[in-house]
């Protein structure tokens, strides 16, 4: 190790400790690297305690868990019964449909919206105007969903701004009570998500656009390309890799349709279409005390997320785009 510090080769230290035996590694760790150990172990402990220890609780999904019995092995093991209940007895399929639908709506609206806004911002030459619009567009991202849900509910109320505008345009005669309409709920979620996230979403696309070689634009101009052609043939291909990476990351979160916005915006008539997996878990777990069923739903969610992540990642590799994992 002493040598590796003097050697400036980047991979030297790694090669060195690969050759070490286990005992040598342990000795090095406690003699030469104890400071690194001291700086990382306390936080590693936190990660294990709060992220890995709770995985133990997944056993509940395979039991008919009853509170009060202390030893986890004294519970009654029921195999996959809870998962069967989830799909064949309870209306979990409805919850699943809600989750996937809202997730896809959010993904499509959010991605297309952010890319479009980024393209438009990229075309602005006046720097002050561009920066001002950008700063303002980040505002909703910094609001909590509690605040945002209150604002959305106010805007969509019978005397809210949306109804006022629609009436003044002459498109409707009577106010629409948006939040009480079950068939409008997914749209409300989609657009409030778009409102909250579109500005923030542009950040990564804009930075990818600023990395595009300006010579390409100049060459295109000499060839007589107009603005739309330059956007289509240079800017969009230039951010293709970024789009793919972000899509992969987001598809890995397909089962996270969100919890807060649905929970806070749902009303009596919309509950059937508002319930996502997370709300379902909360309902069964905390309110009804059916821990086993709630945990089974949670496991299903995590498993699908990870499977999707690997699937999309493999697909992206195959079509020759950059991959994540």
């Amino acid at each position: 190790m002493e040598q590796s510090k003097k050697n400036k080769g980047r991979n030297k230290p790694m090669q060195l400790y690969r050759k070490m035996s286990f005992t040598e590694k342990v000795v090095t760790l406690f003699t030469k690297q104890w400071q690194l150990l001291a700086m990382s172990l306390p936080f590693l402990a936190l990660v294990i305690i709060f992220n890995y220890v709770p995985l133990w609780g997944w056993t509940m999904a395979f039991q008919r868990y009853r509170p009060g019995i202390k030893n986890i092995f004294d519970q009654k093991w029921v195999g996959l019964e809870n998962f069967k209940t989830l799909f064949f007895v309870d209306d979990f399929t409805r919850v699943l449909r809600n989750t996937v639908s809202m997730s896809l709506i959010n993904l499509v609206l959010g991605t297309v919206g952010a890319i479009f806004l980024a393209l438009m911002l990229h075309e602005v030459k006046a720097r002050l105007f561009k920066r001002t619009v950008q700063t303002i567009s980040y505002l909703p991202h910094f609001l909590s969903w509690v605040v945002a849900a209150g604002i959305v509910a106010d805007g969509l109320a019978s005397d809210g701004i949306i109804n006022v505008v629609l009436k003044n345009l002459g498109w409707i005669d009577n106010s629409i009570i948006f939040l009480q309409e079950a068939n409008l709920f997914w749209g409300v979620i989609g657009f409030s998500n778009l409102w909250k996230g579109i500005g923030w979403g542009t950040i990564i696309y804009l930075s990818a656009m600023s990395g595009i070689d300006t010579a390409l634009y100049e060459a295109a101009e000499i060839d007589g390309a107009n603005r739309y052609r330059k956007i289509w043939h240079i800017t969009l291909p230039g951010i293709k890799a970024t789009i793919v990476i972000l899509l992969i990351m987001n598809v890995g979160h397909l089962m996270n349709a969100g919890f807060e916005q649905q929970y806070l915006l749902q009303r009596g008539p919309t509950q059937q279409v508002a319930e996502t997996i997370d709300i379902y878990t909360l309902k069964w777990g905390i309110s009804q005390g059916n821990y086993s069923l709630a945990t089974a739903a949670g496991i299903f969610k995590s498993t699908v997320n990870i499977l999707l992540l690997f699937l999309v990642n493999a697909l992206a590799k195959r079509v020759g785009e950059q991959s994540l994992v």
Binding site: Q33, S40, I151, L264, R267
Partner: protein, 311 residues
Amino acid sequence: MATRTLITHKKKKNWSLENVLFTTLNTLFLIFIAVVMLYPYVNTIAVSLNEGYDTLRGGIYLVPRIFTWQNYEAVFAMGNIQIAFVISVARTVLGAITSVIAASMLAYTLSRKEYILRPFITILIVLTMYFNAGLIPNYFNIRSLGLMNSFWVYILPGMVSAFNVIVIRTYILQLPESLVESARIDGAGDFVIFLRIIMPLAKPVLATVALFAAVGAWNSWFDNYIYNSASPHLTTLQYELMKLVNSTTSMSQSSSAQHGVGVNESTAAGMITPKSVRSAITIVASLPILVVYPFLQKYFVTGLTIGGVKG
């Protein structure tokens, strides 16, 4: 640079009809976006500064019609809001500080290629971004750790964020390796290198992480709801607002109407309505962050770009 070269090129045909039309439409579109982003919040400010019963007549858009501080006075006179404000500030400040310390220390050790535990810890940290034990297992875990009804449940579980660790690590890896090497030859240990060399250079990314952590802490209410709802002395602003939003926007739901009654009682003295009080709390619960973020813009844009693409 990119824009500058383009401008010089454009000058020749800047006034072609197509260009003028595009620029005009684009500018109008962006102004529309800015208005949509800004209006709802400005409207809430206007309502919060308008006399409560007058607001019910409708027609408050950008400015208050009958100006008053009554709503804010009423809000700050509520005992639970005073407590909530203190707790929210405390968890935000402490949460941001501890998150920055945790993420920067871990990130530094994970940037040292010679560190034997580096691959192992990296995998453990990155994996936490993609799975979650779930609500119930986490609840049981927190309960068995004795963190129910405790202030620490706001700080400890979220202290190490994988995203923040990766953002800082990526930033440190971009710094010239020779800085660390020459310090080592001078006999400096990792503590000294971390504190004296890496930390001062990493200030921009630390600001980013501090902002992310502070926003997360200030805006969260679910941990309060799940773990601390039985402890009124540990309540937060977002949770108090959540209870109000749930009660005043869903009057038809009888179960939550009780909260609304509470509001009316405590504010019956003035010309105050649940809506005006809710607007005032909304502003109190969001303005502190909205005042800060524009000044940190260049930091979080860099931070997000580093972490978002390479994470």
